[in-house]
């Protein structure tokens, strides 16, 4: 139903929406037509959330504040903090 707007949901929002839909579906208060619509949306949310889980990759950055108070995010020094995608080429060379 709201497939396009659901694309931008965070994992938390998607889970919340999904829980809400499942509750509604289980309550039996929806008409058959609405049930099917909601079910479609639920499956989209499941797919979206599963994709988020599968693709998730922990990021880490350090917040650096200069003397003017400007904030900037920088990589954290140390090989262990490099993200998988960044370190993957290294692994391949080994």
């Amino acid at each position: 139903m709201l497939a396009d707007s659901n694309q931008d949901l965070t994992f938390e929002q998607a889970m919340k929406r999904l829980e809400e839909i499942v509750r509604k579906l289980e309550s039996g208060e929806l008409s058959l037509t609405d049930s099917i619509e909601q079910y479609k949306e639920a499956m989209q949310l499941v797919q979206l959330s599963r994709m988020q889980l599968d693709r998730a990759e922990l990021e880490i950055e350090q917040l650096v504040v200069n003397s003017q108070g400007d904030m900037k995010l920088e990589p954290v020094p140390g090989a262990e903090f490099q993200t998988q995608s960044a370190s993957r080429p290294k692994e391949e060379t080994e």
């Binding site: 965070t10 994992f11 938390e12 889970m15 999904l18 829980e19 839909i21 499942v22 579906l25 289980e26 039996g28 929806l30 058959l32 049930s35 099917i36 079910y39 639920a42 499956m43 499941v46 959330s49 599963r50 988020q52 889980l53 998730a56 990759e57 922990l58 990021e59 880490i60 950055e61 350090q62 917040l63 650096v64 504040v65 904030m71 995010l73 954290v76 020094p77 140390g78 262990e80 903090f81």
Partner: protein, 463 residues
Amino acid sequence: MGLKQSSIYTVTELTAMIRGNLEADPRFTDCYVSGEISNFKRHSSNHLYFTLKDEKSRIRAVMFAGRARFLQFLPEDGMRVVLRGTISVFDRDGQYQLYVEDMQPDGVGALYVAFTQLRDRLEAEGLFAANRKRELPAYPRRIGVVTSVTGAVLRDIYSTLKRRYPLASIVVAPALVQGAEAAASIVRAVDSLIRFSKLVKPIDVLIVGRGGGSLEELWPFNEEAVARVISTCPIPVVSAVGHETDVTICDFVSDVRAATPTAAAELVAPHIDELKARLLQLEERAKSALRWRVTDQRQRLLHLSGTSVLTQPTRFLNIHRQNVDFLQGQVNQLVGKPVRSARRRLSQAVERLYRVDVPSRLVKSRSQIDLWAQRAQQQVQAGLTSKQGRWERLAVTLEALNPLTVLRRGYSVVYKLEQDELVTSTEQVGVGERLRIRFADGTLVVRSEGGDLVGGQQSRLDI
């Protein structure tokens, strides 16, 4: 041989003698010793074994689990301590040892007092109250960490989250975590993350941490400035300072206290497998809910198509027909009754009317009227007759009284002409006076001559 006789002891005997000697000396009982810990070992039985040393000497020490469990800190190598204990001998090794009763980090007495005082003050302010503790977000997107970028703390947090919850991103605000500058540095780091959260991207939860250490090393986390910045932080804070046994004021003011940095990382987010399972569960629930819905609808349809309304519509009608009959009965009872009784009263009235026999009543009335009329006539007649008789009698009387009648019989009436005065006596009339005489058929005017009046005049004069 003589030597042998007088003074040959077994090792056990000798050791026992030495121990007896040592234990008898009151200076070795409950003595206080200061020194530095080395070769520290915690046995699986939780007895602590270590060597206490200074620049020149060392002594072995043991602290049994029964006493060690009261320690407020975790002793470790290099730590300077003051301890209270008793000297004795461990028979098996022939080693004299210090049996430790109590131990305190050296030089931290003042810190401990400061810690207690600040803790009590902030607690009185209500900063540790349970109702101030906020819930951590279920699925944090951005996790702020205040710690040293080079320490094990960040590595532990990072590896834990990477394994358990890679959905998040970590923003580290580097801070000094020990030394005189540390408290101010921690405050700045927390502030910068609060500012980042407000201005750049929201941070869902904060972890403030450092590894284990002595009370002095952990001291920055017991400073009021740190306590204040955490207690006013708009983002929920997890405190992960030191090891399990270390307790800091930072722990008290935070929303959640984690025993270690790894525990903190586990606390702030669920495990990804858990999320996958929950997602699968929701998917299954949605599927079965829809399946149930469809089955339910189908069954309702089946049920409806099987109902007698559709299979035996006439029966359905009959039921309603019966209903109508019943309702009619009700209507009759409710509405018909008063109508019927009104109708009955009406017909009774009509019947009574018929029974009255109008013609005969009319005849009766008419004869009555006739009777009344007759009687009235009789009365009028009677009245008239009596009135007529009376009238005739009056008329006779009137006739008799009529002067004209008298005049007709030959009488006349004399009036003085001038005064129109009735003359009844001769004395009223002078000589030459003119008189008017009324006869039955008219009047005459005459003049009195005097003298020749009848004797009657005289007689009258006589009278």
